[in-house]
Every structure is written in structure tokens, then in C-alpha cells.
């Protein structure tokens, strides 16, 4: 019995020692692993009847009174993308484009943002128009490697990539019919709700 008590005591004390030594190391908090942002894909946002408004924070199309209330972030109209700021809206949304792969754009730039000005949008040249010289003719193709960074009115950052201008996000071949119903926007974005520039 005495031997067991001694053993137990040794075990307890060593554990106690271990625990206290561990807790000493645990005084500095562990670095938090950042939460990977959710990538939302919006398919066929219907802009065929006219301009269509979208909110990145709620991940929903914005209609009716909410538009006038300024509860939107971006607006698609034909081949143009407007932001809720400057001459296009009541908010203070800004945007710029960067080159890279969507998954590899991990940080929103600190500066270099523009808002919409009369006749010159913040988001320009997001697509390539093939015209008559190259097949498929008269086709709007989103520029690969063009990532749109948006700083919303609420000061939150998001990265966005346009996937298609045509209904159903069709596979493009040289025989693609440019008369395919267009102004159906397919795009994906990642929205950083915590207000930091981290876009991983």
C-alpha cells in the first residue's frame, strides 16, 4: 500500500509539474489560423431586361426600394460594371482590378482604388471583345486572370472574377454563336466580412 501511495504521489507531482510547465508555455496565445473565405458563385444573374443590382454582403440580387436605399454594391448593365459610389450611386464603394489567379489573390491592395466617375468606371476592361478579326466573332470574353477587388461602402473587401457573359456559362469554341442570350452574368466572389484586407 505504501508503494502505491508513493507511486501515485510521484505520478501526480510529475503531472502537476508537466501541467504547470505546459501552462507556462501557454501564456502566449497561439496564432489564430485565418478562416478561409467562402467563395460564392452566382450563376446567370439576369441582366437581359436592364440593369441588375447585387449586394456582396448579403449575396443576393437587390431590387425595388433597396436599390434607392443604396443597399447594393455592384451593378451590371450590358458590358459595364458599376459600383455604388461616385457618379453611379450614393455609397462610397471603390474598386480596382489586379492580375492573377482568383485563389492566389490573398490580400487586397492598400490603395489604388477608384470610384465611378462620369464616363469612366472604376471597373474597366474586364472583358475582351473579339470583333470581326478573330473567331469566335463578336463575342464578349472575360479576361482570364483579371480579378476585381471591391471595397464596399461599409469598408469591407471582396474579390470577384467574372466567368461568363452568356446564359448558362457555355463552353466557348471558335464556332460559338454570339447570338446566345447574353447579359446573364456568371461570376464568383469572396467577401471578407471582418473588414480586414485578407482575401485568402
Amino acid at each position: 500500500m505504501n508503494k502505491f501511495k508513493t507511486l501515485a504521489l510521484v505520478l501526480f507531482s510529475s503531472t502537476a509539474l508537466l501541467v504547470t510547465s505546459c501552462s507556462k508555455d501557454n501564456e502566449t496565445p497561439e496564432p489564430q489560423k485565418p478562416a478561409i473565405l467562402t467563395v460564392n458563385t452566382v450563376s446567370d444573374l439576369d441582366g437581359s431586361a436592364g440593369a441588375v443590382y447585387y449586394s456582396l454582403s448579403t449575396n443576393k440580387q437587390v431590387t425595388g426600394d433597396d436599390i434607392t436605399a443604396g443597399k447594393w454594391d455592384i451593378k451590371f448593365s450590358g458590358t459595364s460594371i458599376f459600383v455604388n459610389g461616385g457618379t453611379s450611386g450614393s455609397g462610397t464603394t471603390q474598386a480596382q482590378t489586379v492580375a492573377g489567379k482568383f485563389e492566389e489573390v490573398n490580400q487586397a491592395p492598400a490603395d489604388g482604388y477608384n470610384t465611378d466617375a462620369s464616363g469612366v468606371n472604376a471597373i474597366v476592361k474586364w472583358y475582351q471583345y473579339t470583333g470581326e478579326d478573330i473567331k469566335p466573332n463578336h463575342t464578349i470574353l472575360p479576361l482570364p486572370g483579371k480579378i476585381i477587388i471591391i471595397k464596399t461602402s461599409a469598408g469591407k473587401y471582396a474579390k470577384m472574377e467574372i466567368k461568363s457573359y452568356y446564359k448558362g456559362n457555355p463552353v466557348i469554341t471558335e464556332a460559338f454563336d454570339a447570338n446566345t442570350p447574353s447579359k446573364f452574368y456568371t461570376f464568383r466572389f469572396a467577401y471578407q466580412a471582418d473588414g480586414s484586407t485578407n482575401l485568402q
Binding site: 448593365s77 450590358g78 458590358t79 459595364s80 492580375a99 492573377g100 489567379k101 482568383f102 464616363g119 469612366v120 468606371n121 474597366v124 476592361k125 472583358y127 475582351q128 471583345y129 473579339t130 470583333g131 478579326d133 478573330i134 473567331k135 469566335p136 463578336h138 470574353l141 472575360p142 479576361l143 482570364p144 486572370g145 483579371k146 472574377e161 463552353v171 466557348i172 469554341t173 471558335e174 464556332a175 460559338f176 454570339a178 447579359k183
Partner: protein, 695 residues
Amino acid sequence: MKYILFCLLIALTMNAKAQHADTLLTDTAKAKKLKEVVVTATRTNKTLMQVPMPVTTISNKEIKNRGLVRLNEILNEQTGLSVLPDAHGQGIQIQGFSPDYTMIMLDGLPLIGRTTGILDLSRITTNNIEKIEIVKGPVSSLYGSEAMAGVINIISATPAAGASGSVSARYGTNKNADISLNGAYATQRLSLSGFVNRYSSSGYTLVPESGSATVSPFYGYTLNGALGYKFSNRTQIKLQVRDYTSTADNNFLVDNDRITGDGTEKTLNASAGLTHRFSDKFTGDVRLYHAGYSTKSLLINNTDNSVYDETFFDQNFNRAELQGDYKIINSLRFTGGVGGQDESVKATRYNDKKTFQSGYTYGQADWTPLKKLDIILGGRFDAHSVYRSQFSPKLAASYQFSDKFVLLASTGKGYKAPDFRQLYLNFTNAIVGYSVFGYEEAATELKKLQDQGQIQSVLIDPATLQRLNAESSTAYNFGYRYKPFTGVMWTVNVFRNNIRDLIDSQPIAIKTNGQSVFSYFNIHDVYTQGVETDVTYNFLTHWTVAGGMQYLEAYDQSVLDQIKAGKVFGTDQVTRETIKVKKSQYGGLLNRSKYMANARIAYQDDKTGIITSVRAIYRGRYGFSDVDGNGIVNRDDEYVKGYVLFNASVSKLFLNNQLRLQLTGENIGNYKNPGAISNLAGRLIYAGVTYNFKQ
């Protein structure tokens, strides 16, 4: 140039009779090939072996033997040349340059009529051609604008002495009919010749379900007349007129509406040249040239009889030129000239009548310091009323190691002036809604659209637009001609062209309808480089085996720089995810094959009068579309697959070589690629007959 040639031909007592009639020329022709004279490279006579620039010649005999009746047909079979399919016409690509950069001449005078830069070669009949000379490398030092990739000169035949004439007809697939009537009369002083040619086809369609023809039915006439008169041994005059008219019967479907209407095209060339030999050393020429080109088209929508499209295009070109040729000493010869040009264009798509005036002067020294060494130094200065003046120098040298081997090297500058479209276009596509404005019109037209409230955003402020410069190039050509043993001729040419200021269209504004407004800019720096080789082997009197190959790289320098900086992306074909484009994936400029080759076997027997040949033409794959939207060719599905075409012909001569019966086949393998290649109609078989009248 023809006029100086004529004088010298008489002096050398060459047999002018031989070139015209459609007959066999065997050993005499082969012997002549060795001492063959080329005029286009230097605007003077030079023997083929000595010319320090890469030159290809095609004889009348070769054209007739192959049974090819239009210029695009015969050029398509040459090493290093490729005829591109395009809605605006069959143009020729040389050393990786688009058709806009090659000047096509008839007897040394430029043919006009390029609505979008391409000169449609199917307009030109091969009837009555003595030979075709193709000079590669920039020759702007002699010919000015457009002679950037090279020049193609069609030399008309000289009539044989006495009265002669011929009638020939070819008929076959797609109801393609070509009929020519030739007549000539020549004495010691006078030579008179003329011909009429009719070319027609019922067209063809590669996609029958579309309800529209790929090529509409058409018919065309060429009328040609030439008069030459020798006042004396020293003075002669040459007059030539050519008229070409063609009408196409358009009929196609657009969204269930049938559109029909005629499109007509007319060209008129008239030239007068006077040559006077002042002394043994000095000859002078004066040349007057007028060329006119017009097109008209009226298309009606049959559903509601509304006008679908109505366009016209009228171009006029006038030139006066003086040239002197002075032989300072036996080894030094100087050629110089001065000229002035007046050009005008009026078209539906240009605001009003536009006119250009230009003047130029050129000089060339041809120096043979050693018997084996020939050096040519020349330059041309062009002053123009709209764009900046150009100076195009050229330096070329050939060293003849022996009768069998000659080394040649040349370097020079070429340029191409901005064309009417790039300067003056005012066009809005009614269906799609985009607009294109030439540089001179861009600011005013954009303002008009802005005042109409049609502009959504401006991408490039027209006030910052720079005046368009001519596109220019610096080229290096190096190679040799080698005759290792009798009957074999082997040529090699390595080339590099650095092209600056290539003009292309770019959007300057976005309209409220979402479409763009384009204008033209000098944007690109492009280079083409490669190597070309050609071998011909004549053996056993009757046989010829020949082949050639070209390797070409054509790249946009700024794209290469951007790829290097890691700024170019594409989309993966399978995963549809973004990828970074590597240099090895970049396909270079559109419509250029990296590999092109041709091979030929021909047999000719005077005794039996049988002439036959089989030719194969290989086009390696070429970039054609951009499906991932990055503006360049980088994915395998953006290429047109490579292919081989087989052409063959067999003819038999009768009645002492006066009658020829011929069977011609083009694309015998019936290769088609309806989505990408509109000028491959499938297998074409023709039967032809030619009869020569001889006094």
C-alpha cells in the same frame, strides 16, 4: 520596266517568240533558266544567279502545264507563300506578313483596290503572262509603300512576230468556267496584242444547312490591250489598258430573312511608257499610270423589301514617273527616278471624298567591284500629304564563289502607309452596334455620339490620340543558291523582319448599348523570322522533282514581354480554371503556320506530247481563334489542324503542239474544313482545251 527589258531583249537577240505561244519548250527553256533574267529586284536586268535578294520565278510554261488560271492558284503552290482564306479576298502571305504588306504589280505598276488591305488575287487571270517574279524582303527602296514583305510582279507576254492567236477554255467543278481569247500581231516596229477573259463560277457552300453560300456565284471579264511601237532603235513607246469587271450574286440568310442582291467590282488600269536610249550608257523612261477601282453593292431583305445594306467604294490613283539608268563605267550602274502620285477615295463609309498627294525619289547604285562581287545600295524617299515622310534604304550583296555557288545577303527597310480605312473610316455595324472610326475621324465622330447621348464611358480620350505613323520594318535576309551538279538548283534563305508600329484597332469608348467604339493605333512590335529552302532537280530530260519548306516564327514582342513578366493568363480547356501562360504555350500571330512545305513531280515528253505533274502542299497548324479571351493563341483548340492538299494535271499536245487537251485536279483529296477554311471548296476537277492559231 518592261520597256527597258524589251530593248535589251532585242539587243541580246533572245527569242521573244518562245514566251507567248502555249507550247512545249524543253531544252531551250532549261538552258534559258541558267541565264534567266530578273527585272523586278533591281528595276534593271540582272541574271537570276546574281540577284542579291531572294527571288522566285514562275514561267508561263509552268503555269500552263499545271492548268492554273488564276493568280491565287499558282502562288499558293510556291514555297514560303500561303493564300489565306478571308471574306475580303484571297490574299498572299509572305515571310509571315499579312497580305497587306505585299505589293502586287502588273508590268511594274501597282495594282490597287484593297478595301481592307487585302488585294484579291483571284481577280487576276494568268492568261497572257510571260512570267511571275517574286522578290522577298522589303523593296520599299524602289517601290515605296506596301513593298514591306516583298513584291510580286506579273510580266505580260511579248507577242511573237507575225500574227498569232489562241483560244482556251477550262470547265469543271462548281460550274467554274474560264475562257480566254488572245490575239496578237507584231512586226519589227509594231506590236499589238489583246485578250478577253471570262471567269465564272456558281459558287459553293461548305455549310448547306446555313442556307447561305460560302462563295456566291459570280462572273467576271478581263479585257486587255497593249500596243508597242518602236520609233527607232533608240525610242519606243508602250501603251497598255486593262479592264476587269466582276459581278457576284449574293444570296444568304440572316435570322430567317433572305437577303439578295448584286455586288459589282470594277478595276481599270491604263499606262503609257516612253523609253529612249540616249547613248550606250544612258537610258531614260517616262511612265504615266492611272488605276481606278470601284465596288458597289445593294442588298435587299426579301421579307420586307427593305435595304439591308448599300455600299460603294471608289478609288482613283494617278502617277507620273521619270526614271534614268546610267552606266557610269562597266562595273558601276546607277538607276534613279522621281515621281508624283495623286490618289482619292470616296466610299459609303468615309465622310466625304478624301485625297492624298505624294511625291518620291529613289536611287540605286549597282556596283561590281570584283567580277564575283555585286553590291547594291539604294534608297527611296517618300513625302506624303497626310502621314510622315519615309526613307527606305537598302543594302544587298551577292558573292559568286563559282558558277555553282552564290552567297547573298541583304538588309533594308520597308514601310506601309496607313490605309484609307485606318485614317478615314466612319462605320457603324447596324446589326451588332459597334462603331469603327479611322484616326482622322475619331475625335469628331466620338463627339457626335456623345452629343447624342450614345456614349456610356470613354476609355481613351481622343485628344490624346497620336497621329498614325506608317508601319515600318527592318529586314535581314541571308542565303545562297547552289547548283551542286547539273540539273539541281538548291536555294536557302534565312530571314528576320522586325516590324514596328503595326496598326491595329482598339476600343476607345463604350456605347450605351454595351458595344465598343474602335479606332486605330500604332500598337504592336512584331517580329517574324525563319528559314526557307527550295530544291529543284531536273533529270533524264523528261523529269523534274522539286520541293520546298518554310519554317516560320511570328511573334508579338509586347506579348512575349508580358508573358515573361507573368502577366498573361488563360483558361484551361478542361478545368476552365485560370492558368498562367508560358512562352512555350504562346502560339504567335494568327494565321501563320510554323511549318509549310510543298513537293512536286513533273514529267514532260516532247515526242509523245504528254505533260503531267503531281503536287502536294502542306500547311502546318496555325492559330485561328481565341476562346479563352486573353487575345492570344495559347490553347490547342485555338488552332486549325494542319493539312495536305494534292493537285495534279495531265495534258496531251496534238497537231504539232497547236492543240492541248488538259485535265486538272485541285485538292484531289477533297480536304475541307468548313468552320475555319472558307477557300477550300473540296475536290475541283477541270477539263481544258487550248488551241493556238499560227500563221
